[in-house]
């Protein structure tokens, strides 16, 4: 136990402010307040891998490490589309995932946002469109925002999600 505690002490707090808000850390507090006032709770994200190579998932998972501290921003990943405000979709959409993606989209309550994450989700990238791949997510469901990169870095993902959360606020 002592070991654990001393390591926690030594590690300290690692959480960084998202780059775009570096000069204005109150922006995060504002965002948290905004999110709570609109939703009465955190922004809930459902991630859907529609055929990715798993590279994009690795970077989404990195958002949960102490440097990014996503939950501290009032953003959390949820296990069901029914609890989601936003779908974060990766990969070129494989034909074998087409139906599951559409079903997840339909199961997400309105108003919903769809973010296409990664070059594949944007346009199919190196996989293109083929007998097995439908290419970008927008070929199947409406996309509100795209985060480019292969894979996009966690800071870019965070920035994109914050942007969507803000526009969601403005829209409401």
């Amino acid at each position: 136990m002592f070991d654990v505690l001393s390591r926690i002490m030594r590690t300290g707090i690692l959480t960084e402010t998202p780059a775009e808000d570096a000069q204005n850390s109150s922006a995060i507090t504002d965002l948290q307040t905004d999110l709570r006032s609109i939703l009465g709770r955190a922004l809930c994200i459902r991630q859907v891998d529609a055929g990715s190579c798993n590279g994009c998932e690795l970077e989404i998972n990195a958002l949960n490490n102490p440097y990014y501290n996503l939950e501290g921003l009032g953003i959390k990943f949820v296990a069901s589309p029914r609890h989601a405000d936003l779908l974060l979709v990766t990969g070129p959409v494989s034909v074998n995932m087409e139906e599951a993606l559409k079903r997840t989209y339909d199961a997400t309550p309105d108003p919903k946002f769809v973010v296409a994450l990664g070059d594949c989700a944007d346009c199919g990238c190196v996989f293109g469109r083929s007998y097995a791949s439908r290419g970008g997510v927008a070929n199947l469901i409406p996309v509100d925002y795209t985060i480019l990169g292969c894979p996009p870095e966690p800071a870019a993902i965070l920035k994109g999600i914050l942007q969507v959360a803000r526009s969601k606020h403005r829209a409401s």
Binding site: D3, V4, R7, I8, T11, L14, Q47, V48, D49, A50, G51, S52, C53, N54, G55, C56, E57, L58, E59, I60, N61, A62, N64, N65, P66, Y67, F77, A79, S80, G91, P92, S94, V95, N96, M97, E98, E99, A100, T104, C125, V126, F127, G128, R129, S130, Y131, A132, S133, R134, C150, P151, E153
Partner: protein
């Protein structure tokens, strides 16, 4: 063993590649006999794939690849009955062949007499009569999805019920379907259905020039980008007589060991978390992030999707790299050693790790385990040890080996391998020769075939590349060791509790995209 093949006509030929390999042409009669001989020699089954060669010499071909202790053996079987291409199933000898045979049927319409020939990669996205890897098929053709049911195996009995999970999972992980048959909380049977992320990479390779194939190879399985892109380049370099500069080879190995460490650190954190010890996740995910950031600063990317290319690597390390890395290795080593003793002494973690998801040596051997999972069940197999290709031939890699085959053993192998990788990275940096990091690569002779086999963090990743005319790719077969290890997860979960599945699954951490292709 070799005697068997010497009687073949033509005799075995050297197969160009980064590891010693031979290619044996067997006809239909010798195909199964060759597999039996390999089985008797305790060869590890590596892969199975096919090709449509009707345009060239009017046959389909089926290939099998095995690992002997010191070489790879590829057996090739030309199927002359093109109206009804058929070969003898290898599954009675090598159970891992079963799903690969189903995949070969889905892609090429080459069949075998296996009782289980349910579709594997084809779900309902293209018509039953369409075989996408046949040469005349236009890969850009699209079909509407039809909803076809999949006949899962039913388990019957008092109090047995089914829990279907997926393809979309609760966490941020890849898609696949798991069907549990349970009594109370106890798992009687798990059946996996994969193929959801099939992206048609075999066909895609055929539409790319040799000079670009490494882009796709790096994206077959994102966590193994270095391993697959190296395998791809090794295959191409072997058929173009390209000699990579020594500095480039050392940098590739440095990148591969970084990839191994990053994945192991991530898994060790996730394993702690799944055992109810969130502290582990926080600590290990921080260490992983530190390593990725250093990687980004030195190699130019966090995940090295664009680092390895034919002839060498895309960029050299900056001058301050050595000092920066040495300092980081020191910190990493100290932190991981500390965390290891915390894990080892934590009663809660050990209680969840030990005896959970056990895969004993005998079934692991019989079912054909590969890589990390095999080493945790006492099977000594690591290409860096058995067939060390440059620069590993000068590094004396020590294999990590555990025998208990449970979650604890798979965690220990990861710990051991992090320390071993640190040692290798230091040795690579200490011996780093000056010089260029890239050599020009000519185009390969049409019809030439090469093999790239790299021990990635999960196990051996394979690329078999056949050149087409004018710098094109005629065929490219990619194989991830997850093919072998997925069925072992079905085995290891039997008799365990449903709530232990995430932990056991994480201890295997297999690739979906890598196996789906």
């Amino acid at each position: 063993m070799m005697m068997e093949f010497d009687r073949f006509d033509p005799p075995p030929a050297k197969f160009p590649g980064n590891v010693p390999a031979i290619r044996v042409q067997a006809n239909a009669d010798h195909w199964f006999a060759a597999a039996e001989a390999l089985h008797a020699a305790h060869a590890h089954f590596l892969s199975l794939w096919g090709a449509d060669d009707r345009d060239r010499d009017n046959c389909f071909r089926i290939y099998g690849a095995w690992l002997l202790p010191d070489r790879v053996v590829v057996i090739e079987n030309a199927l002359r009955d093109v109206a009804n291409p058929h070969y003898a199933s290898l599954a009675p000898l090598f159970p891992a062949a079963s799903r690969m045979q189903r995949a070969v049927y889905d892609l090429l319409g080459i069949s075998t007499e296996e009782p289980d020939m349910r579709r594997w990669l084809r779900h309902d996205g293209w018509p039953e009569s369409v075989f996408p890897l046949r040469r005349a098929f236009d890969g850009n053709q699209q079909y509407p999805v039809t909803s076809e049911p999949y006949p899962f195996v039913q388990v019957e009995g008092d109090g047995v019920h089914e829990i279907p999970v997926g393809p979309v999972h609760a966490g941020t992980i890849e898609p696949g379907h798991f069907r549990f048959s349970v009594v109370g909380e106890k798992v009687l049977r798990l059946e996996e259905r994969l193929g959801y992320t099939h992206k048609g990479v075999g066909k895609r390779f055929q539409a790319m020039p040799q000079a670009e194939g490494h882009w796709l190879a790096a994206r077959l399985c994102g966590d193994s980008a270095v391993a697959f892109s190296w395998a791809w380049c090794a295959a191409l370099e072997s058929i173009t007589d390209t000699l990579c500069p020594p500095r480039a080879i050392a940098l590739r190995a440095l990148a591969l060991e970084h990839e191994r460490m990053a994945n192991h650190l991530g898994d060790l954190g996730a394993l702690g978390n799944d055992a109810g010890f969130a502290f582990g996740l926080t600590q290990f995910s921080r260490l992983k992030e530190d390593l990725l950031r250093t990687g980004a600063a030195l190699f130019g990317e966090r995940y090295l999707m664009n680092f390895i290319l034919p002839g060498g690597v895309a960029r050299d390390l900056p001058a301050h790299a050595s000092a920066l890395l040495s300092a980081q290795y020191l910190k990493l080593e100290e932190s991981v050693a500390g965390l290891r003793s915390i894990y080892d002494e934590h009663a809660g973690v050990q209680d969840r790790f030990r005896e959970t998801g056990r895969l004993d040596h005998a079934p692991a051997e019989q079912l054909g385990a590969l890589g990390l999972v095999a080493r945790a069940s006492g099977i000594q197999c690591d290409l860096r040890v058995n067939m060390p290709w440059p620069p590993y031939d000068g590094l004396q890699v020590q294999p990590a080996l555990q025998t208990s085959g449970d979650v604890a053993a798979r965690a220990q192998v990861r710990f051991d391998e992090v320390f071993a990788s640190l040692r290798l990275c230091r040795a690579l940096l200490a011996d780093l020769s000056a010089g260029p990091v890239h050599a020009a690569v000519p185009i390969a002779e049409p019809g030439s075939m090469g093999i790239g086999l790299i021990e990635g963090w999960r196990g051996p990743v394979l690329i078999v590349l056949e050149a087409g005319p004018e710098g094109s790719i005629r065929n490219c077969h990619a194989h991830d060791p997850s093919w072998q290890n997925w069925p072992l997860l079905e085995y290891a979960i039997i008799g365990n509790l449903v709530p232990d599945f995430p932990l056991i699954n994480k201890s295997f951490n297999l690739s979906y995209s890598g196996q789906d292709g």
